[in-house]
Symmetry: none
Subunit: 527 residues, 2 copies
């Protein structure tokens, strides 16, 4: 259940985006926000409008209707007004209003050393900056949370000043004072002591924001809750600067399954694993196999000592029933490895496999085999459906390819030409077509469509709308392979196909081939 009593606050898109190697596009950010909403976090911090152009655009597109959250509220992040400037004249504060976010998180200095050495202003001016900015945003109808940067380090140097910041924020109308371990040097015992002390002294609801520099971010967050914090901040998969932030999936797992805090809407806990993996995909990072709760190996058992006993009594060897967090006890070679998942997936695609246990068995085997070689059907429903229908009743082949050739030529004058030739048989004729494109895959796509356009004029409606590439490291001494995902649209529906090969062009071709084949079968009513 989800109420305002306890805040699960996600900052994947703001603080988490500081992780080395992550660069989200605006479309990526929208997709991540939608996924976070599926696990029912209460607050999705979207970025820093006014400071980063991409974040400004993200809030504009969200406000224009591209993002509608079912469970959570979108939050804008910003700083208190600049020293010596009137709050209404600070363009950065103005940008927070323009973002149209109903909740704003303000970062405030709460460590005297940072006020004096980094901000280079007085302790009183810093308090005024907090007071003015909170009051201004409150007067404009915004709900305000205050992130107290370097709170714990500050407490060690001066245990009074941070509490003054909290009190000023509270009296100006802020709802939550978030104690941030910005440098990440804390251990849970210290967090527990300080949060307990501050809770006795400050008149505001307390939140906790931790970084993983001691490997204790999750524990520090849970220790703060044990000491009375009722607002936790974290990021998907613990992404964040340096060693990262508190992993929100582990924090949720601990709160719900270990501490009895029922912090998610009903039915959301089982989405943890799926959402964790999908966000990794968007961040273009391999999901951490060994992540608590959500990792593919989180409930996998290797020890011979254990394996036999597990068969007798799984409860003895798992700290949790894996299905509660959407995970599985088996070693997951693949999401699709079991008969049950193939049956469920088929039903979802509208393909009837009841009474065909042989087909289900063959499909399970083929999927296992292909996933071991780097394929993934998780995101490629259309390729999976083709595989399934080929086994079930032999989906017809609308065309047969004889050969293709791609030439990429960078000429002396610097001009780059990509050209593809496709030779195929369709509707009883042999066709040869050559096209240029802005790259080899585009050239291949155009040559393939041109070769088929006479036999299948409906191809004119379809277009390639997304193309993703991922290098899959070789396993067990094999070479790395390239996985290509292609999304195609006919302006009514989108479908995704996959191709895997050591050669990026062939991988792309396999995905293109499936994409066009699926589109043609679909337009013919065969799928």
């Amino acid at each position: 259940m989800q109420t305002d009593e306890f805040h699960v606050f996600d900052t994947t898109l703001r603080d988490g985006a500081q992780r080395e190697g992550i660069t989200y596009s605006v479309a990526d950010k929208l997709a991540v926000a939608r996924l976070l909403d599926q696990i029912g976090v209460g607050f999705v911090e979207g970025g820093w409008p006014g400071a980063l152009p991409k974040d400004t655009e993200f809030f504009a597109r969200a406000a224009a209707g591209e993002l509608s959250l079912r469970h959570g509220v979108l939050v804008a992040f910003g700083a208190t007004r600049k020293a010596g400037v009137r709050v209404e004249d600070d363009p950065q504060v103005r940008a927070l209003l323009d973002s149209q976010a109903t909740v704003v998180t303000l970062v405030a200095k709460s460590d005297v050393r940072h006020v004096e050495r980094a901000l280079r202003t007085t302790l009183e001016e810093n308090l005024a900056m907090v007071r003015d900015t909170v009051a201004f945003l409150r007067a404009e109808g915004r709900r305000v949370f205050v992130d107290c940067e370097h709170f714990f380090d500050g407490y060690h140097h001066d245990p009074e000043y941070g509490v003054r910041v909290l009190d000023v924020a509270a009296s100006a109308g802020a709802d939550v004072g978030v104690l941030c371990d910005t440098n990440g040097g804390m251990l849970p015992m210290g967090v527990h002591d300080i949060v307990s002390d501050v809770r006795r002294r400050a008149g505001i609801r307390l939140g906790i924001h931790t970084q993983d520099d001691t490997g204790c971010a999750v524990a520090n967050t849970l220790a703060a809750v044990d000491a009375g914090a009722t607002h936790v901040q974290g990021t998907a998969n613990g992404y964040g600067e340096r060693a990262g932030n508190a992993n929100i999936f582990s924090v949720i797992g601990g709160l719900v399954t270990k501490m009895g805090h029922d912090v998610l809407p009903d039915g959301c806990l089982t989405e943890l694993q799926r959402v964790s993996h999908a966000i990794a995909e968007i961040a273009n990072l391999a999901p951490d196999t060994h992540a608590p709760y959500v990792g593919a190996a989180a409930f996998a058992h290797k020890a011979g000592l254990h394996a036999s006993a597990i068969k007798v009594d799984p409860e003895l060897y798992n700290h949790l029933d894996p299905s509660r967090v959407g995970n599985d006890q088996r070693i997951l070679v693949t999401e699709m490895a079991g008969r049950a998942s193939v049956e469920l997936k088929s039903a979802e695609l509208g393909v009837d496999v009841t009474g065909r246990p042989d087909v289900v068995g063959t499909v399970v085997e083929r999927v296992k085999e292909r996933e071991a070689a780097g394929w993934s059907y998780e995101a490629a429903d259309a390729s999976f459906e083709l595989l399934l229908r080929d086994e079930l009743d032999g989906a017809s082949e609308p065309f047969t390819v004889e050969s293709y050739r791609v030439i990429i030529d960078r000429r002396e004058d610097g001009r780059l030409v990509s050209e593809a030739t496709v030779k195929l048989h369709a509707a009883g004729s042999r066709v040869i077509s050559t096209e240029e494109g802005n790259g080899p895959v585009n050239a291949l796509d155009r040559a393939l469509r041109k070769a088929l356009e006479r036999a299948y004029p409906q191809l004119a409606k379809m277009e390639l709308t997304d193309y993703k590439v991922r290098i899959m490291p070789g396993r067990h001494g094999t070479d790395a392979v390239t996985r290509v995902l292609i999304e195609t649209s006919d302006h009514e529906r989108e479908w995704t196909t996959v191709g895997v090969h050591g050669n990026v062009i062939e991988a792309s071709w396999l995905a293109l081939h499936d994409a066009v084949r699926f589109g043609l079968l679909r337009s013919a009513g065969s799928v």
Copy 2:
């Protein structure tokens, strides 16, 4: 300083080897043991002689002189005698003696449910098994530690029985009773409470062994020490079954730098990062860039907000001086950064930009411009250094490319051929070379090297060691671009370069070109 007062006990080679995907050879195990000795752990648990043939061989070779530890002692792991068997007749106990290890860790059941349901014996017989085995090994001159499996889960069901096991072990002569959170479901508050309670009630020195299923293994270990445990078990990089074990590097980091326990011999702490990476190398796993203390990004700063302040006062933004654990502060050059980051990064690369504010300004502009177009320099130090040096003093061009051409041909017989031709000028000659490869990038790489090999024979040493591709969705109505990162090694050092273009082949070419150019300038001493 290292004494028997506090035990740092490593189980990388025993419990850590249960991690999915790890298979050590005996030579690997010897190498890992030597590395662990370099950080001065007190105990290196080598495996389970008698149960696993590879471990039997490991102990035999260690005893035969292949392993001599400077700081630590080699430990053999085994189980208490079987139920209903005399200890002197149990071949598995005998194998522990044969291993010649002077210290033995015995695993014992301490959860009544496991005794009854998994071991299927009586609670009294289990106690006798502990008593007999400890006494037998003590009589043979061995030092004995007892790992109490499932201690915490057992405590929840029956808080008495585990303490009885500890008391029996102590009275039979065991030195340490290790409380194991075998299923990994604990949080630090609970660990602290239980260790405190057991410490009051049991007459034996306590150790702690945790698993990371809640993401709290390190915190749980440190909480146990706070509650009085003086023996900690962990594994290199947290390797272990499911979510892994307590990461011994993070445990050591916390003990030494946060809790003031001086648990390592002098001079060993600075070896943490090197040893962490070397063990990852042997385990054939990529080092975790974001690992606390030892990760390459553990002290990396990306936010422009921070970078300017770091220049003023690094202490304000690091929880620890990175050099204490053998790590470095790194500055990531990214769109979030400004002049300060470029200055810091230049200093880190050993490029002097003092007195050249014009160059810094131009580089900031070029980086911003290029990052807006999809480039990213944060992982591509070599490309950044080339950009910087080109602005600073015009790095020389070791070769000039005239044109290239790549052909990918899938023939009628299904055979796939990738061929590249490169035309360039180097050392006064025009060279044309054509090569095949297992894909277009490999073919280009080979053709480029072949064209240069006569002018630059040192190229033979360099090889492309990693290749990453990412499609960056178009922004503001532009087409998507492809970003390629290439890692190159000359077996002494690695460097990473980046290329971005709408065409995947051209993006790869740009990264390849930078990679070879950087390598050649470096071998000439120009960078």
